[in-house]
Structures are given as structure tokens and as C-alpha cells.
Symmetry: C2
Subunit: 360 residues, 2 copies
């Protein structure tokens, strides 16, 4: 099969420019005689690669100087434990806006008191729950939010006003997809495998004054303070994933950066939602006010038709459109690296499928 369009929720489509470069440099990185995979993480050549990735991320997100950027392992799921281990001493407030938020809240309960201050779980997370400012604990160690809920295709419409309580955000599925004022957060974390690079790398952005608070049982690899002191290299980092992230971030920079990609992302999402709002066959799943521009969920209402659609699309080179099992239906993940052309092809295919189905 020729190159296809793949709508998986992560790992997901990557910039072809980055993949081509990686293939070219696989056996010999820029005349070094070595593959990046073979380089000692303590070598000057590798440190340069590492610093380049961090520096691109700092530039693209405009990360202030008083925030540390850590490149770690373990995914967002690792941070579900790391967040309470590094910050939870009295109590923390959680917004339960999806399955991952829920799992994160459960993980935090291992380490201390956790309050669920808003939840849409009863509605199968079709929307992001509204946060009542009065419900917030002004003495909480942190307020936890998920800025985009991959499974349900919802997006946090507005960040709660939390006063002095630092906001911790799982940004795994929409980091770098839209402008973000880092100053509004105490901690941002993200698994790389959607908008940053390959799986196996976790980015943590933490405001420096939040360091030094880790609980005694925190494993070193999840301890932000230790990792800050060691420049993310307490132990061997995921060296190749960090290199690949650098190639992907170079592509994002070359595309014009976050503001430019945001405009493209809006166009891509609009193409799909406009069609869904008009369709006689497909229905959007997420509530309009909470719609994600990264993950678009929809269904026909018939499991058999859903399955036929997913199968037909795959045969046409439009892959991985099956929704997550807890949400059902279909999901098109249209991260930064998904070209507009891919979304157009998808909408064309949906049109055709609708026509054949409705007229049949």
C-alpha cells in the first residue's frame, strides 16, 4: 500500500519530513559515523541533539525562563502518579472530564486526599463539565485539568480561575496544536505520541517554585526535582525519541509555528464538523460547546453501519477510524501532522458512504 492517511489517536501520523530525515540519518548522523541510537547520552553530540529539542519546544510554546522543561519516560500515565507524588500534601482538586482524567484521579488517591470538583462521567463524558468557582478549594495543592479528552473528542473550553492554586494540565492530546499561555499553568505534561514525536517520551513543563515538594516515596525517575537537577539525565533518557521529537518540532517551526498550525487545525476541524452538522447519516458525539479540534467523534447510530464505515474507509486508505471502545462509534484524530488533504479525503469518503447508505 502507498502512504495512507491514518487517524489513530496516538501513536499517530507524523510529519513525513521528519521521517525522511530520520531514515537518511539512521546509520550516520551528520558525519559522526554513528546512528543517534548508538550515541552515549553523555556525549557532546548527543547533548546538542537534546538541547536542540528542548530549545525548539521552548521557542514554539514560548515557555518562560522560570519553567523547567523535562524530557522523561513513562507517558502521561506515569505523570498521573508523578503529579500527586511531587505536589500532594493536603488535598487536590480534580476535574473529571474523561477516562484519563478519571484514571489520573484514582492514581492520585494512592497518595492523599483528592476531591472531584466537577464530573461529566454520568453523561459518558460527552461534554467537559462546568467548574463552579465556589467549588474550588483555595488551599488545594493543585487543580487538575485535562485540556483535551482524546477518547470523547472534547476540549476544555476555558481554564478555571484558580487564584493562587497552581493548575496542573494533562495536555497530551492538544499540546502545540493551539496557542497556550504557559504562565496560566503550574505544570503541563504530555505524552509525546500525538503532537510532539514518537511514543516513549513524556514532556513535563513545571514552574520552578513548585519543585522541592516531592513526597518521600517518590521514585527518582518520577521526581521532577531530581530530574531538574540532573537535566533530565539522572539515567539514560529515551535518546532516539528525543531526537525524533526534535525533527518533528523542526517541521512545526518550518510550517510557521503554533499560531499557523492552529489556523490549519481550525480549518481541518471545521471541514469535519460542518459536514457532520449537515449529515443525514453521521452524528457528532461531543457536545458542541466542548468540541475538540484534535479528535472528532461521530457515529451513525447503528453498530453495523459504523463497522462497515470503518472497514470501507480502511480499504480506501483512511485508517484507524474506529472509536475508542468506551465511547463507541468513530473517531478521527487530526493532529498537527495530519494534512488538510487527509481530512478532505475523509469528508469525501463520508459523503460517498452517506449517499450510498441513505439511497440504498
Amino acid at each position: 500500500m502507498e502512504r495512507v492517511y491514518q487517524f489513530a489517536a496516538g501513536p499517530a501520523v507524523m510529519p513525513q519530513q521528519a521521517l525522511r530525515r530520520a531514515a537518511e540519518e539512521m546509520l550516520n548522523w551528520r558525519g559522526s559515523g554513528l546512528s543517534v541510537m548508538e550515541m552515549s547520552h553523555r556525549s557532546p553530540a548527543y547533548q546538542e541533539i537534546f538541547d536542540h529539542t528542548v530549545s525548539l519546544l521552548r521557542d514554539l510554546m514560548n515557555i518562560p525562563e522560570d519553567y523547567e522543561v523535562l524530557l522523561l519516560q513513562g507517558g502521561a500515565t506515569g505523570q498521573f502518579a508523578a503529579v500527586p507524588m511531587n505536589l500532594l500534601h493536603t488535598s487536590a482538586d480534580y476535574v473529571d472530564s474523561g477516562n484519563f482524567a478519571h484514571v489520573s484521579m484514582k492514581e492520585a488517591q494512592k497518595y492523599g486526599a483528592v476531591r472531584c470538583i466537577a464530573s461529566s462521567r454520568e453523561e459518558n463524558y460527552r461534554r467537559v463539565p462546568a467548574v463552579d468557582a465556589a467549588a474550588l478549594d483555595p488551599k488545594a495543592d493543585y487543580l487538575y485539568v485535562t485540556t483535551n479528552n482524546t477518547i470523547y473528542g472534547t476540549r476544555l473550553p476555558a481554564l478555571p480561575e484558580s487564584g493562587n492554586v497552581p493548575i496542573v494540565a494533562d495536555m497530551s492530546s492538544n499540546i502545540l496544536s493551539e496557542p497556550c499561555d504557559v504562565r496560566r499553568y503550574g505544570v503541563i505534561f504530555a505524552g509525546a505520541q500525538k503532537n510532539i514525536g514518537p511514543a516513549g517520551l513524556t514532556v513535563v513543563i513545571v514552574r520552578r517554585d513548585l519543585l522541592g515538594r516531592a513526597r518521600p516515596e517518590t521514585p527518582n525517575i518520577l521526581n521532577w526535582t531530581v530530574m531538574t537537577e540532573k537535566g533530565s539525565m539522572l539515567n539514560t533518557p529515551p535518546t532516539y525519541a528525543i531526537y525524533m521529537a526534535g525533527l518533528c518540532l523542526e517541521w512545526l517551526r518550518d510550517e510557521g509555528g503554533v499560531e499557523a498550525i492552529y489556523q490549519r487545525n481550525l480549518r481541518k476541524a471545521k471541514l469535519l464538523y460542518d459536514y457532520l452538522d449537515e449529515s443525514r447519516l453521521f452524528r457528532p458525539i461531543a457536545e458542541k460547546s466542548s468540541r475538540s479540534i484534535m479528535n472528532v467523534t461521530f457515529r451513525t447510530g447503528s453498530d453495523a453501519l459504523d463497522a462497515a464505515f470503518v472497514k470501507g474507509a480502511a480499504a480506501a486508505g483512511l485508517l484507524s477510524l474506529k472509536g475508542h471502545r468506551v465511547a463507541g462509534g468513530m473517531r478521527a484524530s487530526i493532529y498537527n501532522a495530519m494534512p488538510e488533504e487527509g481530512v478532505k479525503k475523509l469528508v469525501d469518503f463520508m459523503h460517498k458512504f452517506e449517499k450510498n447508505t441513505v439511497e440504498a
Copy 2:
């Protein structure tokens, strides 16, 4: 620079066959139209890649059916916490045979009682300390050993007889380099970046009856029981590192497997040690009875000469021979993927350097 020989302690030299294959398949894995990096970890194609890596490892190490093989993140350093979190309830015995063993012991102290039953720390770890059978606690939760000490170039000469106490082994720097009777261990773990594949992947081999004992504060990503239940995919695994490990293990299989590579490793180590034992300039650092066949440490006795040697070797395409800062001198890491030709070139260069120095 053309391809070079690189003696780094890890990440380290990788099989060129694996790197060539990775380069060829980077944009389109076997006609799928996708890079492996872009594949959903939940897709059948990726599951096949994952299972292939596990199956190769099971075959090459002859891992019995009642042992689980987990492919995780966080490196050996992550397992320094995971071991006590999954097993420590009363007390554990540690053999302090090197810096990593020491760090691991310190990490375990966060979670419970730890006894250091043998140490060569006072001798800067030049040998692996002898374990007095009478010193072992027959009720210990586990006995912890490091089978090869990367920094000092030492190797555990014989596994202690621990009776019913399960042995937990950090095998990061000699896994797959020599035959290993897995049945003698309760748990084996290893960072991949020496003899398995690229950095960012951690292999844990655990006897099934040791599952189900995790401490309540264990983060899910470090919980062997949870990870076993989820087939190592509680969350997104380091998908590309697992694929690369598969390519590297295919190479090892094609080379004849562990017994064949062991014979070659013995020849490589003998070349170096035979020369070192005769040299008028270089002295081996590790005590003879504890010599590693993976990491060979040596020095001239002069810091200036050591530095000149490392520099001269690098100019001759023999890279990363500087010893670890805590051990000093030089270290040649000659993992499985280092060809005999590389060791021969190194010994030739040492000869020449010695001749020029001694005659000067």
C-alpha cells in the same frame, strides 16, 4: 567520518543489520503505508511487532512459561524503585557491588528495611564482594544482585545460593551476552540500551508467583502485576524502541543465538585482557576473579597519558573509551554488537600507543 567503532557503555554500538533495516522501513513498514512510529499500539500490525520481540527474547533466553516478560519504560533506574515497590514488605538483602547497586539499595530504603550483606565500596568496587551464605536472611523478601557492573568492569562470578529467597538481578549490562539459567532468578531486569536495543525500553522478566505483592503506593506504570494483566500496554509502550529491539534480537538469532555470541564475547574479552596482562603501559582495573567480558577497564597510571590515549583513539575512529568519572582511566565496552574486528583494531592501537610512549 566513515562508520567508526564506538566503545560507549550504553547507549552503545548496535547491529548494523538492524539499523539498515530500520532505515529501509522508516516510511513504510512492510507495505503497510505507515512508519512503525505512526502505528497505533492497539493495531494488529503493531501487536505483531510487539509479540515478535517478546517471542525472540523468550526463545533466545529460553524463558520458562511461568515467567512473564514485560516491556516497560523508565530504565533500570525505574526498576530500582519498582523492585521494592513490588516485593518489599519485611526486609531485603542487597549485594553492593557497584555504583548502580548502591543507588538501587538507596532507592529501596524509601520503601522498607534493606540490609547490605556484602560490599566492595571501600575498594572502589574493583571486585565483586564475596557473599557469605551465613549472612543471607532466609526470610528476606528477595536477594538483590547486579550481574555485571558497567562502571568498574566487573562481573558476578557466581550466583549466591539463596534457598527459597528469590534472586532479583539487574542484568542491564550483560543480558544476552552469555547463557543464563532464568530459573535461578525470581526477577531479571535490564535497560535495553546495551545488549537489547535502543534506550527508552526496559525489559522485566518476572516469575509469576512473585506477582500480586505490590505495595499500595506503587505507581501503575511500575506495577508488574498491573502491567502483566495489561500485556505491558496499560498505556502506550515505547513502540519504536520495541520494534528496534526486535530487529536487534533478529540479528542475534541470525548470529547463532546466545551461546554463539558468548563464544565470540569470550574471544573479544580475551584479546583485550591478554594484552593488558602483558602490557608495560596499561593496567587492568578490575580484579582478575571479577573480570567482566562486557566492560573492560584499564589505566596507565597517568591522567595525562590516559587523556592522550582517549584522544588519540578517537582520532583513529575508536570512540568513547574514557572511563566513567567515578572509576577513572579507560573503559572499552564490547557488547554483543561490537565486532571482533573492532576489538582487534583497539588492541592494535593500544600496542602502537604503548610502543610510542614507552620508547619515547
